[in-house]
């Protein structure tokens, strides 16, 4: 061996200098690592409101779209219907939303937010925006808007696989 080092000695020289160049050249890997960190911070923010990411996303869509059905909510959030049931159960049990039977189609529910639900929406949104500003910078900056645009384009292109 040219370096003069023995094989077994070489194999111990990895204290903190592992090469991850190959992985770091892949966009997907960097997306995963970045999102994991963002998510870890967001989870802590939402914990203060006793919300998880999916329960909060659902609450937002229900407040913004009063009366929508579970099936439409599931589609909008890209969640399977069975998984949405427990999310809605939790929001309803906490009195943040209500299931109202439709007269025109008695199979379906119209989902509506309660006053406490709308208040929690506002308070949590303020905290989430602060969290996002901390990580991404001003949310109205051209650079942030460009990032969102890029991500949406990536989503579309990956969806059209």
């Amino acid at each position: 061996m040219v370096t003069g080092k023995k094989k077994t000695e070489m194999r111990e020289d990895f204290s903190g200098k592992v090469s991850d160049e190959t992985l770091r050249k892949l966009v997907g890997y960097n997306m995963k690592r970045a999102f994991n960190e963002v998510q870890a911070d967001l989870v802590q923010v939402l914990q203060q409101f006793d919300l998880r990411m999916m329960t909060y996303s659902a609450l937002i869509l229900i407040v913004d779209n009063p009366g929508l059905r579970q099936s439409h909510l599931a589609e909008a959030l890209a969640v399977e219907r069975p998984n949405l049931v427990i999310i809605i159960d939790e929001l309803e049990r906490r009195g943040l939303i209500a299931r109202e039977r439709l007269i025109s189609d008695r199979r379906a529910y119209a989902l509506v937010a309660t006053l406490p639900g709308r208040q929690l929406y506002e308070n949590a949104l303020r905290a989430v925006k602060a969290h996002e500003t901390k990580i991404f910078g001003d949310l109205d900056d051209p650079e942030t808007l460009k990032l969102i645009e890029t991500l949406r384009q990536v989503e579309r292109r990956a969806r059209a696989r």
Copy 2:
């Protein structure tokens, strides 16, 4: 009501036009949705090689860093040690890598890729790069490099929470 529509009628008008403006203004939500789609495509690509995302990431680092220890690999991949064990088990069982005891510290293993492991690395990497080019465009383009740089910056800022 000004529109003249009854409440219950309004609550059915949600066929495909759910407003998700609030969520779509949040960078994190767009990251999640984009990554979910990218991941779904990547999973299919790796399935052809009987690899999952974590087994493939681990294989890459072992090939690129012959002799590294499991603890260093776990740290580099941001995976808890117990979860890495089953990943390494699988790679070893398939003859893609080997655990070699260190003489200097008989608690630790040096992880090394086998020839089949290095060959699978090459073949899978070719497929993964094709998948990434399909979704992100040319991987050497300034725009792609900029996206990676942005993601890494986001990762650092979120980590420094």
